[in-house]
Symmetry: C3
Subunit: 306 residues, 3 copies
């Protein structure tokens, strides 16, 4: 049973969001992007805690900028280092935060499903998933879709290639769910050893050189070579040659096709360095849009509390 707070206020993953809810988030992101005079005065004195059990400089500071642009007060709890946080249940940590006046908790956690469990309990705080193991990363997917919509004016009917280490990618999963909700067509690609059959129920899998020819957008996933067994890839060079987005491969895309990446980028591994700043790349635009999307998500969490 999901508490009533959940539906209005938590953000667990994109598979729990309707098309209309996502559209509203994009509208609010657009509002915050275009109304800087409304920042700071939005939610002064409202407390949000960033509870990170895994390191994440990039997502953390994007949320922090969003929080501060909304005029919120921010707390940071480093779940990796804090012995107190480590020694107690997540439920008790969340209830403690609620007791001292925190309304929203942004959580990065490695345990898939932990946030969904917490959302079933009335801890008193609204939860936002900032990346959960190999499970999901909904604000990344939302900012990706917002970027696509900003560029193409629509999502329905777009062909989006998601390429790379699908098996370990929370970004791929959250994007797949959200893109399908909007009627986009998703093509998965990448090394055979990194395929995830559960995702292929909702998308087709194609070799990269075939997939790329159909891509309105290609989302390159970050490859974490250190995670894989040695025999998979002998080197970054081998990965790039077989599965990386090189200039040659980019030129096989439709001429209107755009390049996306959740960052941080491994330059010259999954993507040629020269393409990162290429006019067809939206990588830095994605980072910028992440702030507007997170402002919208934080606003939803606060307003959803009634």
């Amino acid at each position: 049973m999901i508490s009533t707070l959940t539906e209005r206020s938590h953000l667990i993953d994109t598979d729990q969001l309707s098309k209309q809810e996502m559209e509203e988030l994009f509208e609010r992101a657009e509002f915050w992007r275009t109304h800087p005079e409304r920042w700071q005065r939005a939610f002064p004195g409202r407390f949000v805690a960033n509870l990170f059990f895994e390191p994440s400089t990039r997502t953390r500071i994007s949320f922090e900028v969003a929080e501060k642009k909304l005029g919120m007060e921010t707390l940071h709890l480093d779940g990796e280092r804090s012995s107190t946080v480590k020694g107690e249940t997540m439920e008790d940590t969340l209830k403690t935060l609620a007791a001292i006046g925190v309304e929203v908790v942004v959580v990065r956690h490695q345990g898939v499903g932990r946030l969904a469990s917490m959302a079933e309990i009335d801890t008193g705080v609204s939860l936002i998933n900032a990346g959960e193991g190999h499970g999901g990363h909904p604000t990344q997917a939302l900012l990706d879709l917002y970027t696509l919509q900003q560029h193409f004016g629509r999502l329905a009917g777009l062909t989006v290639v998601i390429a790379g280490d699908l098996r370990h990618s929370r970004v791929a999963r959250s994007n797949l769910w959200a893109l399908r909700t909007f009627g986009a067509r998703v093509i998965l690609s990448g090394p055979e050893s990194m395929r995830d059959l559960s995702m292929e129920e909702n998308a087709i899998y194609l070799p990269f050189d075939e997939a790329i020819k159909q891509a309105d957008a290609v989302m390159m996933l970050r490859v974490q070579l250190e995670r894989h067994e040695e025999n998979l890839f002998t080197s970054a060079d081998a990965y790039r040659t077989a599965y990386g987005l090189t200039r040659e491969r980019m030129e096989q895309m439709p001429t209107h096709g755009i390049i996306m990446h959740p960052a941080p980028v491994n330059r010259d591994v999954e993507i040629a360095s020269e393409l990162v700043e290429h006019p067809r790349s939206k990588i830095f635009k994605q980072m910028e849009n992440g702030v507007w999307i997170r402002m919208a998500v934080l606003e939803r969490a606060l307003l959803g509390r009634g």
Copy 2:
């Protein structure tokens, strides 16, 4: 010799506070609790530094919320990690903070008596003790007494049982002093091996099952099993059976008796998990009250500077 700044402004421990001073702090805590419209505008641009030589997520964030609710600017110095702070005397660290514009320093330190020594020097900052080794933890005691007064309308004449690892508890010590000042009756309890005879000059010691029958309130202390020699307790189970607050023991309390704990709780060690959220438990109320008390203590530190 105590500097004049000390008396007006530092908070070293509850044994240096008169009944009137504590009553004023409770009044100001009540003011801050009930006047959210006055937060933020209270002390804008006034700097406080949180100097923590020991980890303390819970006390740190409670202070941080209090500081931010008052509109103060906060700095964090992690004395454990900062090589600069470690390599210099505390006196030089405090004088440096004063030189750059910090008025109040909240200190968590393991060295009993260090803060009292610092208060004898004119470092230029007002000091607040946020927990000092096994010495004292005055804001915890103040929030406990404020919670008792909020519930019972008075402190004089109450019987308060403090139970658990008395020897290592700074919370017990600060509470004992403050409760005695208000004319409350304190009963100590817990394992023989954890008794502290110095505290028994001001309180009686009774076996837990006897003590509990007289308790208007029982304050369960956090047991830190890892600190104790192996032969003391073979397990958390053994501790709970002998000295924990179980449902059976709670039912031996007077029906109006309440349950307190400074948190974080070891569920099913010193207290049965089901009792933490019990209607008679004030544990989360204590956490909430900690913010109001710390706002009052910070205000005193700033106003006491004249």
Copy 3:
């Protein structure tokens, strides 16, 4: 090629600042010192990131106070701990910060010349050097000169002795360049083994007991005994006797001569403890002035962005 942003906005080191630019910074520091009513309202909602690859409590909190006094929003990135920051190029980190809305990045880094290289690229952020290996530490030099000018009313013609571990001192280098620009006379002193011949092109080297007799001001450098080979100094005592500022040596200075130190001080190593708080010591005044200078430097970075 230096980008146009550089000249107007970056602060790489004092050798890139004209006399007029430094005078303007001193004027603005004086403005901020004397106009507290203008703090906070100066640059609300403007984002600065502090990117520290080396620990530096003192410089970090001085910048943080300056940033907050100007009403800016601050982010902290711990380059030592952040795996994301470690795994990517500094260029990508800076571009990411620009993408999420950061305008100024304060960088502490061990790699001499890294910031100058970054300043040649248009990353989108203004850079401020907060100490760079053995290279330079321009805000320290600026606050030192501001302190000298505040005390003597002028810089031209002053004799300043910089004494200690010259070879490893970024403070010495940045001060030498800036003092020469203003027509001050610099005398270097310290152990033979710590001389740096490259600095002696612009200053003379004298034994400490000779140098001190001519000093309008003596800047004692922090000695880091742990950095040096064991045979250099057998102990802190040996260093103090040979090269430390003792009371006896202070009495050899002109009676108007003042004592300076960038701090943190090793009491009774490079300077006698009793001299730190001596009326002729400007050490705590330097710390205070560091905040005003950093406010001026941050203001320059923001206004230089046009």
